[in-house]
Every structure is written in C-alpha cells, then in structure tokens.
Symmetry: D2
Amino acid sequence: MLIKIKKSARADDIRIIRELLDRNNLGHRVIGEALIGVESNPTEELSRELIALDAVESATPIATPYKLASLAAHPEKTVIRIGNIEIGGQNIILMAGPCAIESQEQLEAVAEGLKGTGVSVLRASAYKPRTSPYSFQGMGEEGLKLHAKAKEKHTLLIETEVMDVRDVALVASHVDIVRIGARNMQNFDLLKEVGKCGKPVILKRGMSSTIEEWLMSAEYIIAHGNPNVILCERGIRTFENATRSTLDLSSIPVLKSLTHLPVIVDPSHAAGRKDLIPALSAAAIAAGADGLLVEVHANPKKAKCDGKQALLPHEWAALVAQLKKVAHAMGRSI
Amino acid sequence: MLIKIKKSARADDIRIIRELLDRNNLGHRVIGEALIGVESNPTEELSRELIALDAVESATPIATPYKLASLAAHPEKTVIRIGNIEIGGQNIILMAGPCAIESQEQLEAVAEGLKGTGVSVLRASAYKPRTSPYSFQGMGEEGLKLHAKAKEKHTLLIETEVMDVRDVALVASHVDIVRIGARNMQNFDLLKEVGKCGKPVILKRGMSSTIEEWLMSAEYIIAHGNPNVILCERGIRTFENATRSTLDLSSIPVLKSLTHLPVIVDPSHAAGRKDLIPALSAAAIAAGADGLLVEVHANPKKAKCDGKQALLPHEWAALVAQLKKVAHAMGRSI
Amino acid sequence: MLIKIKKSARADDIRIIRELLDRNNLGHRVIGEALIGVESNPTEELSRELIALDAVESATPIATPYKLASLAAHPEKTVIRIGNIEIGGQNIILMAGPCAIESQEQLEAVAEGLKGTGVSVLRASAYKPRTSPYSFQGMGEEGLKLHAKAKEKHTLLIETEVMDVRDVALVASHVDIVRIGARNMQNFDLLKEVGKCGKPVILKRGMSSTIEEWLMSAEYIIAHGNPNVILCERGIRTFENATRSTLDLSSIPVLKSLTHLPVIVDPSHAAGRKDLIPALSAAAIAAGADGLLVEVHANPKKAKCDGKQALLPHEWAALVAQLKKVAHAMGRSI
Amino acid sequence: MLIKIKKSARADDIRIIRELLDRNNLGHRVIGEALIGVESNPTEELSRELIALDAVESATPIATPYKLASLAAHPEKTVIRIGNIEIGGQNIILMAGPCAIESQEQLEAVAEGLKGTGVSVLRASAYKPRTSPYSFQGMGEEGLKLHAKAKEKHTLLIETEVMDVRDVALVASHVDIVRIGARNMQNFDLLKEVGKCGKPVILKRGMSSTIEEWLMSAEYIIAHGNPNVILCERGIRTFENATRSTLDLSSIPVLKSLTHLPVIVDPSHAAGRKDLIPALSAAAIAAGADGLLVEVHANPKKAKCDGKQALLPHEWAALVAQLKKVAHAMGRSI
C-alpha cells in the first residue's frame, strides 16, 4: 500500500499513522514528505481506519511487493533526461567504453574511436569488483578524474560503477550516471546511499536475482529519494557454460509489463566473448530495450580486464550501422 | 575423428579398422558405407597407423565431441529442402499451429486463421508429453490423420511430435517433419529411430541441456542416417519463474559458430504466456534464427493444453507484419 | 480427486462417470478395476453429483497433482518386499556394482568384491544412455544374461536400467528391479510400460526435475498398475561444477513429507568423483534415505564408463563399516 | 604464486619486486610484512628471475587462484580458538539463536531456551538485509548492545551480521564473530574491511557462488590480514522451489579437499521451513561439517522475520540429542 499524506499534516499525524501500522506489524517507510510505503496491504478493516484519518489523503493498495516501481501504480513511463538525452524515450541510447579506466591514453583512444557512432554515454570503471584480491582493483579517484576529463574533451556523458558506500558522494560528483554492479544488487546500504546521491542510477541485475527481487532493489533506491533508476539486464547464472552468463532477454518484455522504469542491456558481460555481441545487441533492441551498455576498447589484448569481450572501435561502428536498421524496424531510432 | 573409407574397401578391411580402434579402447560407429565416427581423437601414433591402412582414404581429427554436426568438419551450411521451402536459407520459415490436435474443427479453424500470414508449416501434436497421467494425452493416430487432411486441404507442410520409438514409422509416414520434444532430447533410442525415419527432424533443446549436449543429440540422429536436423531453442530451466523457461537466445549465435545445422526458436513454450511472444519472436530473428515455431489457436480458452501461451490468429497476423520488418533489417526475408 | 468405484459397477456405469468428467473438461484415467484418477478436483457441485451416482463408492479430493503417490491419500509407508529384503523398512538397503556390464570376468570380480559387505542388490547396466553415439552403448541382452548368471551364483538380487519401451519385457524377465534413468524420468511411454512390467521400479530424478514433477512421474507408473516405485535422488543440474550434479539431500525429508514411497540415493552419479562418496553416503543416511545405490568396480581405471566415480571393493567395505554406525545413530540398521 | 620476503628486505627491495610483476602484467598484493600474493603463476623464466632477487626468500607457485586459503599451500587445518571453544577441531560447534534481535525480552527468552543444549555461540542479527525497503531493517546499534548484554548474562559467545563497511568497527567491538551474509559474499570492500577487524569471520556462500568464488572471497579476507575465516554453506539458488535454496552438502567434502578453513552449515536459511532442519542438520554433520548455525526462537509466530524456519527451544534440544549420536558415529563430539 502507498499512503499519501495531506500537505497540511504535521509530524504528530504521521506518528499516529506509523504507530497504527506498527501495532499491526506492518513494515513501512516514510518517503519524502508526502508518502508512506507499506510492506504489504493492510486488512480491509485497517485500510478503512487509515483512510478515515484526517492526515491521510489516499491509501492505494498495490498487489506487488514493489510499489513505487510498479507500472500499475505509476502508469506513465519514466523518461530520464540527462544533458540532451532521454533514457526511456523513443530513442535508443548507446553507452560504450572500456571495462576499466587504465590510463588517460587508453580512455582517450576509446573516446576517439567512439566518435560518430552515436554513443552518448562513455562507460568506464574506476572501481572494479574483482574475484581475486590480487587482480587490478581499478584506479579509484584518479580514474574518476580522467573520466571527467574525457567527458569535457569529447562532450560525452559519463557513467561509472560505485561499490563502496563511502565513495558514493565522490563518484556522484564526477559522473552523470552511477552504476550498481550485479554483485551489489542486494547491497542494501549501497542502494540506500545512491538513493540519496542525486544522479540517475543504472541498476544491474544480480546473477541469481529474480525479476521481482530486481524491482525490489529498484524500489530501495526510489524509496530513498531517487526516482531515476535504469534497469540493466546482464545475464543470469545457469548451468550453460558456453556463455559467461545466460542473457535473459525475456526480462525486457516482462519488465515492460511490470514497471515504468527504462530497461537497458549489457550484452558484453553476459556473453563474455565478443563474437556474440552483434547478435545479442540486435536481439536486445528487437526485444524492446531502451539502450545498450557495451564494452569497446582500442587495444583489447592489453586490457587489464575483460579484454575478450570488448569490441574494437571499428567493429562497434559496423554494429551500430546494423542496429540502426533494427531500431527503425521496431519503430524506434538510434 | 572421422575416418573415410575407400569405396574399394571390403567388410574385412572395415573389421580390421574397428578391431584396431577396439584394442585402443576407442568407441566408434560405422556411418553409412563410407564413414567411421570415432569418439575421440587417437594418439598421433595410432592416427599414422590408421592412415597407413589400405582401406582408409582419410582420417580427420575433430576437436569437438560432435563430428558430423561440427561446422569445422562441414563448413557449408545445411539447407533443408522440403516441398517448396528451404530451412536454413535466406528466408526465415514460419511454423505455427495449436499445441495439440483436438478435433477436425479445431485444426480447421487454426489452418483457416493462418491463411495469408506466410506460414509454411502447420505445427500440431497428436502425441502429448503431459506431466500428469490424468491429463489429455493426445489423439494419437486419429490426430495424425486429421493433420494429414489439413495438409491436403490447405497445401501446408505439417510437423508433429513423436515420443515413442514404436510410433516413429507411423508418424513419419504422415508428416513432413518429425519433432523430438525437450523431454526426449536424450532419449537415445528415439534419436536412433528418427535417424532412420527419412524425414527431417526438429530437435528441441532439453530443459537442462548444454549446447554441447544438444549437438551430441543431433550427432546421434545424423550418425544413424539422417542429416536433416533442425535445432530448436525453447528455453532452459533456471531459477527465474516469471517465465516458464528462460529462452537462451545466445544459443543462436553460439550454434552458428559451432554447427552447420539450421536453428529455429519456439518462444511459446519458453515464455508460457502469450504477451511475451511478439518481443521474443522479434528478438529471435534479430539474433539470427532461421525460423520460428509458434503456438496459434482459434479458441485458446478452450484449448486442451497450453492455452495461455497461444496467440489468436489475428494477433499472429499482426506479429508477422512486424517480424517481416525485422527480418528485412537483418538482410533476410519472411 | 480419486473416485472409488463399487464392485457392483458395470462398464456402463463407468462410462457415465467418464462422460460426466469429459463434459466438465476434467482429464482422468481408469486405474485397475476400481479407481478413477482425476487430474484436478471438481467443483463442489460436480463433486456432489459424482458422489450421488450409484456406482461411486467414494470421491476423495486430493490437494496435490499426484494422487496415488500422495502421503495424504495413503498415509501408510510403502514397504517393497523382494526376495528376503524390504525396501522402505527399518533396514537400509545397499545396492552396489559397476556402472556398465562389460564382461563376465568384470561382473564376477565386482560380485566377489562385494561379498560380506551387506550388499543385497547388484547394480549394473546392460543398456547405457551415452551422450556420444560413438561411445560404448552397453552389452544389451548378452549383458542381461551375464547379470542373471551373477545373480544365481552369488545369491544377490539384481537391478538394471531400461531405456527403450521395446526392451521392458525382456529386461523385466531377467532382473528383480528395473531402473529408469534420470534422462528418461519424463519419457512417459516408458513410464507407462514399466507400469505394466510387474517388477519394482527405481525412478531416478531428472536432472532438471522438481520434486513435484518427479512424483508425477511416479504417479504415471502407479496409475499404470505398478505400486512398487522407489525414488532415487541423484543430483540436479546447477551452475556449480565442482561436482557433476548437485546432490539435493533436502529432497529426502521433503519427499518423506509428501509421499509414502521409499527414497534411495545415488551419490556416485551426483558427485562424479569417488572421493566424495563416503561423505555423501553418510549424509544421505543421516538425512533419512532408505537405501544407497553406489558404483563399485574392481578395476575402475579400465572401466568402459564412469570409472572416476567408482569405489574399489575394499574402499566400499570400509565405507560400509562407517555407514553402519551412522545408520545405528539414526535408529536404523544396515 | 606466493612470494616470501626476507626479514632483512627494505621498502626499496619490495618496490623492485612489485615493478617487476607490474612490467609482466601480474596483479599482486603485499600481505602483511613478509608476503606478496600474485594473481597467477609467472613464467618459468620470470620465476627464476624473482627467486634470484636478494630480498626473496621463496617463491611458491600455487595451482589454484586462491593461495592463502589453499590446502595445498597450507596443509595444516585452521583451528580458530575463541574463548574456550575451538572451531575446526574435533568438537562440532553449535551456534543458535533468532534471525533478528527484536527486543531484550525476545533475546532473553531464546538465550534461556538454549541453556543446557550445548550451544556455545548465540547468533542474532542487529542489521538485516531485507528484500523490501519497507520491512523491518534491524535494531542497529541498540540491538548490538542487547546482544552484548545477553553475552554477559549467559556466558555465551555471540555472532552477528555486518552489512555496511561503516559499521564494521562498531560491530567487531561488540561481538566475538562477525558474519558476512550470502548477498555480500562478493561485496569486496566489506571483505577488505572485515579483513582488518580483528575478529573471526563467518563467510556465507553467495546464492549463485561457485565453491571457487567462495574461496576467493575468503582469500580477500585473509589477504587483508584476517586468517580466521569460517565458511558457511547455506544453500544455492536452483530451479527447485520446495526449499528456499538447495543446500549443497557436497560442498563440505569438496572444501575439505581444497582448503584448511573450517566449514559450518546453516540449514535454516537453506530450507526456509523448520520441518527439514533435523534431517539437514544430521546430514551436515555426517558430511563433515565443523559446526551448525541454526535459527531458534521462543515465539516464532511473532518473529519479525523468518519465523517459519525457526525451531522452538524444546525442538532444538531434542535435535541436539540426536545430533550428538551422529557426531559420535562420525568420530566427533558435540
């Protein structure tokens, strides 16, 4: 249930509502100044009691455990405007770049290579979640600065991953979009923190996350103050080992039926091998994706991570030409 | 390894080769009159010994456990010609129809509804694998006859499932394409039998089958005499329960890199709900599928099985119009 | 629902019941002479109508899709008596032997090695489901004969796999217990056939089978006339690749809460490596298994299949000594 | 590779080694004062070059990606001593308590109920990872204080979950063992932080984590200074939905063959229903677990989370009596 509070309500009124929910063992959270999200729907009797309260403007029961992320509760599609782009609109947004920021030269070479390919967001990570404590862990703040420089020089928007709650403010001050990686999809403290960061958030699907759990993680971010969540399908873990993860493109139409949030696809991490990227990118667009997040590197053989899944700039350019046709066939543009 | 036998070879020569393989503990099988498939590659020494034999024309080591299905060993794409259609060619083949054959009226209504939508194969099952022994098990031979009548009347090709080795000859005598269902992908006796049936075979992927195991099952069919195998992706079993199975569209480009066999997609059984079919069908074509196998029913609410995933004929017609655009964008036609 | 028919009922009475069910679109099956299994529970109104029929003795609604296999419908545990053993009783039954029957010498060596270790059933397969068409496919009927000889000589019961409906009668005539392998758990025609074979059946869990689907396959066998079904947990397919399958020991207490059928465990196929067999065997007994099915081979390095997972006879003997202690701790015996 | 540095080495010597590794593109990390962990094994040539350096005492190649956690590199089992208990020794350690700390009364009731049952560690969480932002999120610091009080009063050790890097120091100052939950198994910043916290760490397996990835997360903690890691199996995510997760008891013997770290099992979160706890606990001990982590609540129906999986104190007491027998059968004690 979502309870809307009247503007005239005072702190005491809200306290009374909350105590009533507490007495009935209903988890809840005050969202901003005018809303209370309730874990599940109260009984009819309690619903009547709530609506009867002076401070309550409306009390809407919602069938799904996510409320703010629900399409039923919010039938208008969310379109996120950043600079001169719109994510979730008619246009399909291309985000591309290297896995990790390795040096100014490397970032520069990729940014140069992306020129004229319709990319509006330069992806790259300064903080890297690595399976091994001995692997390259990212350039950290120094990397963020290189990323910001590239933004200036190439008039691109930039996005990057944040892993540590203590880095959220710093990261958000440098980039246009912050990204939550698959391994942190249920790092709830991090979700709360990016909920307060003021920048749009790409929320990658966890490797063993159901679509419902994914939407619940989006709900965390929205309920903590940030409505600009972009869901990113990147594959789930299955028994199949021909690909690193199994890209679940069904999640796109499923999400479109459940939520108003934009959905993008990362074929690179799903596949783990670059030869599959063209087919998976085209399929993602045909399935209804609002954008793509693809790894491109000017020298993948020397990449400090994930070189096998990165396209060369000219391969990327050729792919975009093909993707434009598919987007057009689907009544959209790139 | 594939060992090619000289035309001049006699039974005794082949016996000598087989004994040599046996002594070296190498499983193998004589395929037709001129080929021996060997489980794995012999040592270099044994390879030299084999090639030195008079009866051996060539002995080709093959890196993958499937040999005849391998693209490396057979770089030319398989195009299967049935009637006036080609499966695996430039044109994308549409197969549609009800889950089960229920009556002449039902089949007639669907066949009528499919008119003018570019469908070349009428799918429908007379034998149904049902989880419950109490559920409708299919009309059996009577259903096959109705299917054959519909073929005549509507000049459509027809395909149907075969489940029991004892039914293979009967089924093959009625239809143009026989289908092996997901649950029977590793029913090896059935694979051997359809290997001898003389009709093209649609081989659905097992619910927990890796791509390699799937190709090994195709290898069974080819090694038993039938090169006309069509692989059908229909989703794998994962933890996600928003869909009945998780459609693994990555399997299409993976297969294209490993095998010369055509690949089609069944979005209906993967999704288990009809609202996802348009997105998944478009995605399948964008990913490179050579055809689609879709459930269409004129009265899904009364369907004896799987009604929830069947499109109405007019929904199907609208979908085909969209799919033509995607096919065109991919340089193909429908 | 299970409908019990009065002994006095005539064919016409049964026809009337079936037509009533048909008109209400309820799948069903006549089981033996006195029972009709119905796919799902009729409405209250229809239930009343059914009970009011002269020929109906009782009509019991059952919550689960399996009826005859349900503990709720049949609260007494099934104990299967074969020769002088009981499967499902207080005693834990040990079944051991090689994966495949390879020769008389091989079978003899294993049978000798098992002497005095408390094994009551000699397992071994004459028909082998192999991923590759080029691998050893089993000795077939000749193997069955060797198996029967070993039975005579060593006064052991014997069990073996059947894969092809055409072999069921032959196999059942040679062995005490027939086994359905994991790949055939939903080979419904085979289930129907072993339902009529007159010998107890070990039904292995399919690699991607839920517990409910497994019980539905047991239901097939029982509904076709054979109440003596032994469920065999052998691991499910997951993303973990340290083991061949993931042994799901939770299935034992889950099954004990749902069905009256005995449950045994095959740790060998689950693990795929022999070093894990002792721990998994002990755990299976502690979890409540009624028996174990373990691979033992006198010369695993020369085994034609699955040598890596076979214990040597002296390893097996040492394990049994340990298992007796665990069984005793659980209030059972070996 | 693990490179051991001579005590006589100076900062400059270490810098030289690191630069050599960097030039060869080998990720690495200095561990404490005398060790460098290297991502993978250098070439033979580079290995010789490293060993030839004055400052290098030894350079041990290690086959697995985890080095410090590897049994091969550290053949002596780790036994963790806390207060008067040993984790990883002959005795099996029992940890029990409620899912969440809810109030002093609740914690008191459980602690009372556990008396005399052989429990040495009182488990309970002050910080709760909840799927919904509207659900009870734990009592936080106030909960930690109640936990510490219960420790005093009942002379029990205590353990609790930490989720946020900013809470690690606070949590570690209150409890004897900190716990990393399944969702945070690859929250690498959190792993680094608990690596520095000075208290033993229970590391739960991630829901989609392979055993190798799990050991890599343990490696993070050890490489950041904390050798006292206890691995906790709690089930993996699969398609089976009769249980919340699929408890993978094979992981116990697999881990015992790969690592020297102690392994415990949490049957409560795996099963998600209390009726399975007895069977799974017994099986865990039979499989070789060094301890159990079980949810016990004096009033599960009023529990703020996971009430369905919590045992009542008298059920727990009865279970322990049974577990003692199994432990004894396995040559261990409780």
